[in-house]
Symmetry: C2
Subunit: 324 residues, 2 copies
């Protein structure tokens, strides 16, 4: 079976891996800074360079490659192979013909997929979601991404746009989200939103422990720092994760009553907070969901880490480019 290249275009890092789908392993993986502020042309150029280099350096012949899958943190048109927009990158990547540009620059067939859907698919195929017919996955980073596998199929909806679980409204009068809507989960519980909760607590003088961890430089407050403070016993930091878990629980409750997955997989950096976050999510869904058997739903942490996106998008490419 041919190997596939998986690309994970993140806001911070750009990862490229060679994937063996038979064993579900990443044979080689490289990561470079995305440097998104340089604009999409520069990023794409650096991406194709990295792809060609990893192929050469690993002495793989192009004819042994089935193609390239690219995970993109934005709204795509899968039919046209274009990026419609990327909310969290500086120049937004408006209507960029990404599929054909990469295909041209590499001489290999390309399939695009939203990055969170790629992680969902990777976790379902090889990771924490394995063995279950229907899962929901949340990825918590700069934004809150999501994806669904329904009855053993990655659920795409219209042109791959389904599964945007972070853009569910949990309070229609809530704060504005990067997507333009008001009260989306992402507006409450993304990485930056969590950091802001920590910054606010420090500025209000509610805790000194978070501040101490960053030498009182609030620029350095991240969800990881808040996790660290909570693990050291800081009450305010714990309350922040309680609150974040409540927000996630409300959105997950919506997914449970509408889609009814057997597993909910939590991925992305913030999910590393583990039980700090998960205990509150579990409490919230038990409190709020009565119309489906919530005891039959498992909440689990993603298990593939950085490799989930690369693996998932490679699986996707192998399906999409099957006739190539």
């Amino acid at each position: 079976m041919k190997k596939f290249i998986g690309v994970d275009l993140g806001g911070t890092n750009l990862r490229v891996g060679i994937v063996d789908l038979e064993t579900g392993t990443v044979l080689a993986l490289r990561s470079i800074p995305t440097l998104a502020r340089e604009g999409h042309d520069a990023v794409i150029h650096r991406m194709t360079n990295l792809i060609l280099n990893i192929i050469c350096d690993n002495k793989i012949s192009k004819k042994d490659l089935g193609g390239i899958g690219v995970g993109v943190p934005g709204v795509l048109d899968l039919e046209k192979g274009t990026v419609i927009f990327v909310p969290n990158l500086p120049d937004k990547w408006l209507n960029v013909p990404l599929r054909d540009t990469i295909a041209e620059q590499t001489g290999l067939p390309v399939a695009l997929l939203n990055d969170a859907r790629a992680i969902t698919y990777g976790e379902w195929k090889f990771g924490a979601g394995h063995g279950v017919d229907t899962i929901a996955c949340f990825t918590i980073g700069t934004g809150v991404g999501g994806g669904l596998v329904v009855n053993g199929q990655l659920h795409l909806g219209i042109s791959g746009t389904a599964g945007e679980l972070g853009h569910q409204t949990i309070d229609y009068n809530g704060p504005q989200c990067g997507c333009g809507n008001y009260g989306c989960l992402e507006a409450y519980a993304s990485g930056p939103a969590i950091s802001a909760m920590g910054i606010k607590a420090v500025l209000q003088g509610l805790t000194t422990n978070i501040g101490k961890l960053v030498d009182y430089d609030i620029n350095k407050i991240t969800p990881d720092v808040i996790t660290e403070a909570a693990r050291q016993g800081d009450r305010v930091a714990k309350e922040i994760y309680d609150q974040v878990g409540k927000y996630f629980g409300i959105a997950i409750a919506n997914v449970l009553v509408s889609v009814g997955p057997r597993k909910v997989v939590m991925g992305g950096g913030v999910a590393a907070a583990g039980e700090l976050l998960f205990a509150s999510i579990r409490r919230t869904i038990c409190d709020r969901v009565t119309v489906m058997p919530v005891d039959q739903v498992e909440l689990v942490a993603a298990s593939l880490g950085d490799r989930a996106g690369v693996l998932g998008v490679a699986v996707w490419a192998s399906q999409k480019l099957i006739d190539v």
Copy 2:
């Protein structure tokens, strides 16, 4: 092909039909008052009586019948064939072994399905949702029911509980819902919630037109009365439907970003308000949804009326009881 009996157990009326699935027609249909306050045993007895009578009177032999499908307005355990609870019936029908009881009393095999899922399936197979792979359906009555067809399959989730679109939280600080949760769509936009908006407006003296239509007896204010007042030009009645459309729009937006149906079908009595309601829903989803192509989603009224549930549950029974 064998015929099927479809039963639609409503809070007000109990309907039984003989269904020819080849043509998608209801050959005979009878409706009696449910008299739910008499308790589940009495209702089930009246139901099986009506089933046996309609079979006899139409001179159909039991061997020409494939079985009975029963649509129930509550939470079911499809594997066990039991009703877990019915929020909007007086005695709640807690853990009633409905499937086996009807099978015993009629001598025919029985399959249960949530009533809104039955309507969803009926509308998808023979009505307003026909010809589209993925649809979402809302049914607005005493509660707000829902259902999903995903990739040409009625989406069941865990034991048939998926598709409870009326129990999505649209404001986590919102009013309590009959299901126990806070801020569900149903708590804002069910038939009783809409009636209450009309009653409040009359009591506040904001409009005389709604009051006039019911001879100033607020007990008689229903969504239909408010629709009538709006059609006669009453500003307050129009505003009520604007607001109700906004609530539905927010919940529909959640379904669009997560599931991405190509069609959203609106059924139940309140949907008869038509454009009074739909215009506001369209405006809301256009305003709120940016992460999927909302212009590719059609919002339509259900087209099968009272027959949708009977037809849908008969289709379901034909699948479920296929080996009988």
